[in-house]
């Protein structure tokens, strides 16, 4: 009897179900909420995928081409469009083709039982120790020392304690000033209102103590260290005492009312130094004057250092003023 009933049901299902989608063998309740199909959105997604394919292919073609003008722009445009089209497709899928279901979940809470048990385990595990604190202190000492030992080789990274090198400069009495191309600087060539960069002849230029700026001022205007400035020509370290940038601006008094006197200006934080007053700070964050280099003019009319800088060159550090620039 039951077998006949089963056959009947099977036959009905087969006939009735013909042409329809096959239903799952044992239909389960849905997990993901159901929703209506949206053929238009599906078509849009298909179109976007197609266009993204074209854009991706375009990137490969643009990449393969040689001598294409604006290649970077075309590459960016094609790959960017490919991503944008895919992003658009993804957005359409998110808002039109995937059901928006709201689900609820409890927030996790703490586990006091486990907390207590952990505490208990840790405490009980040390029950055979009689002098826990002493052992802990000794252990911490050993581990700390080992840590320090492992860190010690980091001192090889650099001359940790040799801060004396920070005072080093190639400038000393008699050293000639040369320009960018290595040609000696003639005193006659230095004009008022212009700004010259010079280096110590024959020395490494890539040291903070090497580059200097040279300007000519009317001799009467120089207020400090007149004997360091033959013919009104003064020289200063080019490296700002604030943050180590190269002084690249020379404020010549072309607009007298707002800019009272010529000044050397650092382009990084606008520390402003007075070349007529031994490099004193006029404005800005520098905490120390710009070190001045005494000059002299040799028999051939070339500029030479008459000594070394008035102070340490470059950015300041703890105790910077305790030493002097030296070569």
């Amino acid at each position: 009897m039951t077998r006949i009933r089963d056959w009947l049901i099977t036959a009905t299902v087969l006939v009735a179900g013909r042409g329809k989608r096959p239903t799952p063998r044992d239909p389960k309740p849905r997990i993901v909420a159901a929703g209506e199909p949206d053929r238009r959105a599906e078509n849009v997604v298909l179109l976007l995928f197609l266009l993204a394919t074209v854009a991706g292919a375009a990137f490969i073609v643009v990449y393969a081409l040689d001598r294409l003008s604006n290649q970077t722009q075309w590459l960016g445009l094609s790959i960017g469009s490919a991503f944008a089209l895919l992003a658009l497709a993804s957005t359409v899928i998110a808002h039109r083709l995937v059901v928006t279901e709201e689900i609820v979940e409890p927030y996790p809470s703490e586990s006091p039982d486990a907390q207590g048990e952990i505490e208990q385990i840790v405490e009980e595990s040390g029950s055979r120790f009689t002098r826990k604190r002493l052992v802990a202190v000794a252990g911490a000492g050993a581990l700390g020392t080992l840590g320090a030992a492992l860190l010690a080789p980091a001192a090889s990274f650099g001359p940790l304690l040799r801060t004396g090198d920070l005072y080093r400069t190639a400038w000393r009495r008699g050293r000639r000033l040369v320009d960018d191309g290595g040609r000696p600087l003639a005193a006659d060539a230095i004009e008022e209102g212009a700004f010259y960069t010079a280096y110590p002849e024959g020395a490494d230029r890539e040291l903070v103590g090497s580059p200097i700026v040279v300007v000519r001022l009317p001799p009467a205007e120089i207020r400090d260290r007149r004997d360091w400035a033959p013919g009104g020509i003064v020289a200063f370290s080019k490296i700002c005492t604030h943050a180590g940038c190269a002084i690249a601006l020379y404020r010549k008094p072309t607009f007298a009312p707002t800019q009272p006197r010529p000044a050397l200006v650092c382009p990084c934080h606008y520390s402003t130094f007075d070349p007529a007053a031994g490099g004193a700070v006029l404005f800005g964050p520098a905490g120390r004057p710009l070190p001045q280099l005494p000059l002299e003019i040799d028999g051939a009319g070339h500029l030479r250092a008459a000594g070394t800088f008035s102070g340490p060159v470059g950015p300041s550090w703890w105790g910077v003023r305790m030493g002097k620039a030296h070569s």
Partner: protein, 450 residues
Amino acid sequence: MIRRIVRFLDQRTGTAPLLKRTLRYVFPDHWSFLLGEVALYCFILLVLTGLYLTFFFDDSVAQMTYHGSYRPLDGATMSHAYASVLHISFDVKAGLLIRQTHHWAANVFVAAIVLHVLRVFFTGAFRKPRDLTYLLGLGMLMLALLEGYAGYSLADDLLSGMGLAIGYSVAMSIPFVGANLANLIWDGPFPGSSSFWPRLFIAHVLVLPVLIGGLLAAHLALVVSRHHTQFKRSVRESERRVVGIPAFPGQAPRSIGLMLWVFAVLFLLGGLVQINPVWLWGPYHVGDGTNGAQPDWYLGWLIGALRLVPGFDLTIGHYTLVPNPFWGGVLFPGIVFGILILWPWLERRVTGDDAFHNLLERPRDNPWRTAIGVALLTWVFLIFVSGSADRVDVLFGIDYATQIWVYRVTIWVGPLIALFVTKRVCDELVAGERVRRSGFHESAQRGIPD
């Protein structure tokens, strides 16, 4: 088919229950929750584009004479590092696209993190049980700033050299240990020995990214384990249960879509909008400087601070204790990050509120926090803006020194005004709602998030 794959995995890893839970993980829906995701996708793109760049970059500062395809610099003396960046920009096909996309991604990365931190701060999302998550996030922000700085320093163009000189000076300015620390990092006085460049390189491509990646993993693990916070939009949301869309299928296409949007925007920027044209700045030499080049935006607040500080070193007699760059370069960011780091504990101490908080507050719901946050933000923002005073001078002819004096006053007055105005605005908003609520009872629970 799906069943076969899942069975294969489950039999060998036992992860089917976990995977099932992950698919149905609840995402509360609010646009501001996506800011962290934007940062995540920027990071992914940064790793991928950065990896590509490492195949061409040369981390040596040994000097050479350039005879490459960028004619204006023909014959210039430069480092191999800078020459390799020129090579990437002019000779490697798609090299400039990847380099610029990498740089844009870095800028957007930091911006997204900053906005994310602001969202978390002003909605109280940092409160217990998520204070640890918040700290990891701040750690990533600090590392991201350092990472970005290291990245643009690597190019060894004029801009990067000046940036390194400033970084060196800031390191030097740390009391008691500055000179030794700088000596250690640079292997001698600036610009350092030849071993400094490989150090900078390995920091940028390995150490810092791995640290960021590690914090990121821990950050995300904590987010998932404590679940997302949520705004109270209806009676369904509560401190005990989270309401939202499931990771799959609801959230997945949204997140993937967001990732693709981020990639699209960054590649379009990288291809179409020039960024850091290093060939215009030229190679760095200690004696060269310019003010035509500006660093990335996220260093602006430090530049502003370094510029605003009046010119003094802290000295005792003839002895320098604290050189000037310390104030703007160490103390200022130290204060800002110090306040941000300590904030959850400060707030707990002051309010005595030690409870779990899964529901977010709207900024107006906590007027004092919002007011203090806005004041702090105003302070940093004004200092950031002051960093552009030289551009304003050049563009609009407003005297630089005058501007600096104005800023030296406004950076203190501005935050105070912001504090009281914000407090007042929050109070008024809440009061306005109370009036409306007493009139229309049915809307009482329907606070719409800002």
